[in-house]
């Protein structure tokens, strides 16, 4: 029987969305909605256009949809190539990249691109591919090889210098390595050293932040960031200003917030980067603790769902890739909120789906697309 046009459109519509994980989709729509409404308030009196934000959100969802159509197998096949391309571009950046604000991070290939962004996805792809290849025959030195795969781009990004991105790429790779089965006896000592290190910095912050103390391996401005985190009031009009003012914004929001468009900190320009990295302060001031709980619940749901998709993924590659991508979302959210609320040093990390910015939204859409794809193709592989 001939289908009616309406049925046709309906089926087309469903096929368009078929295989997209409904839960994940709703969570992302929720986050995008929060992002859009916060953007409206944050971008008031700035030249940033609402149309740009809408275009970026749309672009993100289009990328997500496209990627969700790509079978994971293709990703597996192209992993090495993407990784190789990323590293090549990073080397190119080191050789003849553009220098802005004292950092060599960009490459002009007709349009200006930032290759380190590619590594955020390329790194988990590559390592997931590697462990997929070594599945069942893992040796201790496999982790050594993985470490080298991880270290090369991280090193290249760190010396641009772009410590924030380097840490995120490092974290993305580390998640894969740990989830792939890195023995606990190797992990725990590092966790121990990390915890002790953080405690030492907190306790002896005053001493090591003295002017004449030079930190090894770290640029002066990075030392400064960590030191102002420990004591924002040490530089209230300089680097500490951002942290102090965003904490004031958050704190003054109280439980219910000051109301949409009512944030004085945001609208009187006390919050820096208020529609990008510090957008959480704007949201937090206007929607209060209540809004924050909803937002964090959304992020938590996103991560739970991502991990659930990964847990039920068909092979090691998709499992590792899905979980790593999910944990990247987590890392973004945690680091961003931590930095804006004064828990972590100020590093340039956007709040996923809330911060304004095309590149980040596309990367995040790509990541969400991978999760969708893993979910969509689970049966195809299983059966």
């Amino acid at each position: 029987m001939e289908k009616s046009p309406i049925k046709k459109i309906q089926s087309l519509f469903f096929s368009f969305f078929s295989g997209l994980d409904r839960q994940l989709g709703l969570i992302l729509l929720g986050l995008a909605a929060v992002g859009f409404f916060t953007f409206l308030s944050a971008s008031q009196n700035t030249p940033v256009q609402i149309a740009d934000e809408l275009r970026n959100l749309a672009l993100s969802f289009v990328v997500m949809w496209l990627v969700s159509r790509i079978p994971p197998k293709w990703l597996e096949i192209s992993a090495v190539w993407i990784y190789g391309l990323g590293v090549a571009l990073l080397v190119a950046v080191a050789a003849f990249g553009l220098i802005k604000k004292g950092a060599r991070r960009w490459l002009n290939i007709g349009i200006v691109i930032q290759p380190s962004e590619i590594m955020k996805i390329a790194m988990p792809l590559m390592l997931a591919w590697y462990f997929q290849k070594r599945e069942g025959i893992q040796r201790a030195w496999d982790y050594g090889v993985a470490g080298i795969i991880l270290a090369i781009p991280v090193f290249l990004i760190a010396r641009q210098p772009d410590l924030g991105t380097a840490l995120l790429v490092f974290a993305a790779g580390l998640y894969v390595i740990i989830l792939a089965g890195l023995p606990w006896k190797w992990i725990l000592p590092f966790v121990g050293v990390g915890v002790v290190g953080i405690l030492l910095i907190i306790i002896f912050g005053g001493t090591i932040c003295a002017h004449d103390v030079v930190w090894p391996f770290v640029h002066d401005y990075q030392k400064h960031r960590i030191c102002t985190l420990l004591d924002p009031s040490s530089d209230p009009l300089g680097k500490g200003f951002h942290t102090i003012q965003s904490m004031i914004a958050i704190g003054s929001g109280g439980f219910f917030g000051k109301g949409w468009f009512q944030g004085t900190q945001a609208h009187l320009e006390f919050i820096p980067e208020k529609h990008t990295d510090f957008v959480f302060a704007v949201f937090s001031e206007e929607f209060g603790l209540l809004g924050n709980l909803v937002l964090i619940a959304l992020f938590f749901a996103l991560i739970k769902r991502g991990l659930a998709i990964s847990a039920s993924a068909p092979n090691l590659f998709t499992r590792l890739l899905g979980a790593a991508v999910t944990l990247i979302f987590f890392t973004y959210a945690f680091v961003n909120i931590g930095m804006v609320s004064g828990l972590l040093p100020v590093v340039g990390v956007p709040l996923p789906f809330i911060s304004y910015g095309g590149t980040a939204l596309v990367t995040l859409g790509f990541g969400a697309g991978i999760l969708m794809s893993i979910h969509r193709h689970r049966r195809l592989v299983q059966s």
Binding site: A249, G254, F255, A311, F330, G338, L343
Partner: protein, 635 residues
């Protein structure tokens, strides 16, 4: 179904669980942090956000005018454009900012010094003027470049101005920028006055007060002149850009003070002193109105308003002439022979002498083994009371002092105000010394110094010895005498005037107390003093006067020499005698009394009395002496 490698999947599932746990812990950490910020510390941050966004922009109150008894304004305000710098903005790089500003605006080294000093003096006290009286070109240049200088702005501000410069400088005083000490004093003032005074300053108004009276009437009438500063509550951006005014509280202008001083008289006397140092006080006896209050040399109070430069300050401070010293208020001098009329009155009142009782003066007086000499070699012969005053016979008063004793003299002189604080409306009045046995006991430490020696009594009779008074006290005592013992508190300010309604409220207390004196005795003294100007020591100065004035000259020793050894011209200037003179006029109903000293000038008759004559000519008859330039700016 694909078969998973069981152990591997289990291991992965386990790690996913651990990851979930890790994520949960991290999010709980964030939630804890947010609860801490938004619930527990909410109050603190809400306050910080408010103080972030709201700035109090002070609106200084117009300072009251200082007006003389005839309506001549001698302290006023004018408006001019100032370059103000927000103190908060320039921490650390003052010089760089000033260097950049000086490319478009002329900033002198003096401006720079003053600014830096103000910055140090008044930490965190809002805006500090860097350059005042900007011209149009400078204003335009700055406005074109203002984006380069956050925290720097041009404001119209009121400046204090003393249009006649040096005129009456010690009495008017000056204002200057609030110092940390002023601020603390004002804080105390607020705390003390809060409960009972509805017009009391509020703590929040303090930042609006940038100038306070430092000396003179500007200081003593500070709370009247100052008014109450207002403020605007302005919402500002992080960059300090005002967004809107939330509320505003208008300032209440200060009240005008109307002086009892006649500044024309003041000006005349200041001119007559020329290069001489000295003090001159004229009082209207009936009211206690101070008509002139001269301290010479003067200084220019305008130099102090915006902070005095160090060169001028050093000059003023180091000058042996001591131009900053308020002589009538703080300078203490032995009254010399001007004391004699009071001594004579004391003798009459205490029945130690009658007017006609005489002594025989050989030219000296022996007491114990010491000889007290008279001015006149061979003596004045037979001397009665009038002659003792007219000829200024020392021996008469040596004997009188001996007969009265120190305590009788003290008790009689004290109510006249000798050696007492008069309570004039200026701060820092000197007390001087009116000796008595009790005074000596309290003043000295060693027992042999505490004992009063009879010999010390003798020279008190001629206004020497321990006697030392201010010229203000001498004028006050003269006023009390001519006012028949009715004591009026001397005051420089007569009334407080409302700047809008021009309503005046008299501030002066009426009578302080009465000294019980017999009118006949007073007449004897006045008659003798009139005779002094007619045929005595100041007769030359008062020749041809159109009114009858009484007077008495005096010479006060600066350096303890026997008068026979003193040679005026041969003595170093600062060791020469002070010339004193007291006067009242017209004799039948005095409207003015005068006490004055011309420092290191020599004899009173020669240097002081002529000045008094011209002052009286002007005050009583309106005569303006030719050698003094005309009052140019009289209204």
């Amino acid at each position: 179904m694909v078969s998973f490698k069981k152990p591997n999947l289990d291991s992965f599932q386990e790690r996913i669980h651990i990851a979930t746990l890790f994520v949960t812990v991290c999010f709980l950490l964030l939630v804890t942090r947010l609860v801490w910020l938004q619930l527990i510390s909410h109050g603190k941050y809400a306050l910080l956000a408010e103080s972030n966004r709201i700035a109090l922009v002070p609106a200084p109150a117009n300072r009251g005018l200082i007006i003389d008894r005839n309506g001549i304004v001698i302290g006023r305000n004018y408006s001019a454009l100032t370059l103000d710098v927000n103190a908060e903005e320039v921490k650390g790089n003052v010089d760089q900012l000033i260097n950049e500003l000086s490319e478009i605006i002329d900033i002198s080294p003096r401006d720079r010094r003053n600014f830096k000093r103000s910055l140090e003096d008044s930490r965190n006290m809002g805006t500090i003027p860097l350059r005042s009286m900007l011209n149009e070109a400078e204003t335009a240049r700055f406005m074109a470049n203002r984006y380069r200088f956050p925290g720097v702005e041009i404001r119209a501000r009121n400046f204090r101005e003393y249009p006649y410069n040096e005129l009456a400088s010690h009495l008017v005083g000056y204002i200057g920028r609030v110092s940390q000490r002023d601020k603390e004093r004002m804080q105390a003032e607020i705390e003390n006055s809060k409960s009972d005074d509805p017009d009391a300053l509020q703590a929040s108004f303090l930042p609006g007060i940038q100038y306070v009276g430092k000396i003179g009437l500007e200081q003593s009438y500070e709370t009247v002149l100052r008014g109450v500063p207002g403020y605007d509550q302005v919402e500002i951006t992080a960059g300090g850009k005002p967004v809107r005014t939330l509320s505003s509280s208008p300032s209440v202008p200060g009240k005008n003070i109307v002086l009892s001083v006649d500044v024309k008289l003041q000006y005349l006397v200041e001119q007559l002193y020329g290069n001489f140092r000295g003090a001159f006080v004229a009082i209207e006896p009936e009211t206690g109105d101070v008509l002139a209050f001269v301290s010479k040399p003067n200084f220019n109070p305008n130099d102090f308003v915006e902070g005095i430069d160090s060169i001028t300050w050093k000059e003023l401070n180091d000058s042996p002439q001591k131009p900053l010293y308020n002589r009538p208020l703080k300078g203490i001098y032995p009254p010399g022979s001007t004391y004699k009329p009071f001594m004579a009155l004391a003798a009459l009142e205490n029945k130690k002498r009658t007017p006609s009782q005489t002594i025989s003066d050989p030219g000296y007086f022996d007491f114990g083994n010491h000889t007290f000499r008279d001015d006149k070699k061979g003596g004045h012969g037979i001397v009665d009371m009038q002659k003792s005053i007219v000829e200024s016979c020392d021996t008469y008063y040596y004997m009188l002092a001996r007969d009265m004793g120190v305590n009788m003299m003290h008790d009689f002189m004290k109510p006249f105000g000798f050696g007492q604080i008069t309570g004039i409306d200026l701060q820092g009045e000197a007390r001087g010394v009116l000796p008595s046995t009790e005074w000596k006991q309290n003043t000295f430490k060693k027992p042999e110094q505490q004992k009063w020696y009879e010999g010390e009594t003798i020279s008190l009779g001629i206004g020497q010895g321990y006697n030392s008074f201010t010229i203000l006290q001498l004028a006050h005592a003269m006023a009390n005498l001519t006012n028949n013992g009715v004591v009026m508190k001397p005051h420089l300010v007569k009334a407080i005037e409302d700047p809008f309604t021009r309503n005046r409220v008299l501030t002066t207390p009426k009578e302080s107390y009465r000294i019980d004196l017999s009118p006949e005795n007073i007449e004897v003294i006045k008659k003798a003093m009139v005779e002094v100007n007619r045929s005595g020591t100041s007769a030359a100065a008062f020749q041809g006067a159109g009114y009858v004035a009484g007077g008495k000259t005096g010479t006060a020793q600066v350096f303890s020499l026997n008068s026979k050894d003193y040679k005026h011209g041969a003595t170093a200037e600062f060791l020469r005698d002070h010339a004193l003179y007291i006067a009242f006029a017209p004799a039948d109903k005095p409207t003015i009394v005068i006490a004055m000293v011309v420092e290191n000038a020599g004899f009173g008759a020669q240097y002081a009395a002529p000045i008094a004559r011209k002052a009286l000519d002007y005050y009583i008859e309106g005569k303006w002496p030719k050698e003094v330039p005309e009052w140019k700016r009289a209204p």
